[in-house]
Symmetry: C2
Subunit: 138 residues, 2 copies
């Protein structure tokens, strides 16, 4: 089933690629760094090189299978692409990531870009804060 996605993207169906897909699909949180994927692979008892994880994730991104978040402070985070555009809320304490869509913001961005004479190609919006859980803890 996933093999088709890989083939469609012009990628050979290899074990590392299938396993990375599997991890992205079954992990308990939707947002994983390359390192997270790498560790999950090892825990799963699968041999893989970190370089391969990065390569595969980048290829998946190119193929539209995953998207890459560029979060403040360093390392990239990947999520399975589900076709729905959304932005992110990040907990500054526990690093939990939640998703949201807001049509008002989407549209205002278009207006602002137009006002400034920009042809908008993309945007990135992150709201940082303390999540419900972490608020309780103190």
């Amino acid at each position: 089933m996933e093999s088709q996605d890989l083939r469609k993207a012009g990628l050979k169906v290899t074990l590392p690629r299938l396993k990375v897909l599997e991890i992205l699909e079954t992990a308990d949180h939707r947002h994983l760094s390359a390192e997270d994927v790498y560790k999950a692979m090892l825990e799963m008892g699968e041999e893989i090189g970190l370089a391969t994880v990065y390569r595969v994730l980048t290829q998946f991104e190119g193929a539209g299978l995953v998207s890459r978040l560029s979060i403040e402070g360093g390392h990239a985070v990947f999520e399975l692409e589900d076709g729905s555009h959304h932005d992110h809320l990040l907990c500054v304490r526990c690093h939990r990531i939640e998703e949201f869509v807001d049509e008002v913001i989407e549209q205002r961005q278009q207006v602002i870009a137009a006002e400034k004479g920009f042809e908008m190609t993309d945007h990135s919006l992150y709201i940082y804060g303390v999540c419900k859980h972490c608020q309780k803890e103190k």
Copy 2:
């Protein structure tokens, strides 16, 4: 005048720090990477180490004198803090950076954070696109 700002921040008034401030104030664009500041210093005939530039900019950030933008794809960019919050439009071709404020977006973010149970501490919004100038060029 700037010396006061440094003292207030608990920082000794040193030549490197004064010069970095001067560069931030007089540069032709408001948004400079550490490397940009470093080069400007050298062109100005001032000796400085790159490590010092990074240190000083980070301290200035801590003191609220500058803010750090975390743009997609690598290196940080700094701008003099003028008290006014704003977001950024970035040209994907020439890397020009423009600023904007939008009250509608600001407020929607508050609403969204509240809906998700987050205590919002900060946010980062970047709109990417092709600027007016670069549209003409092709």
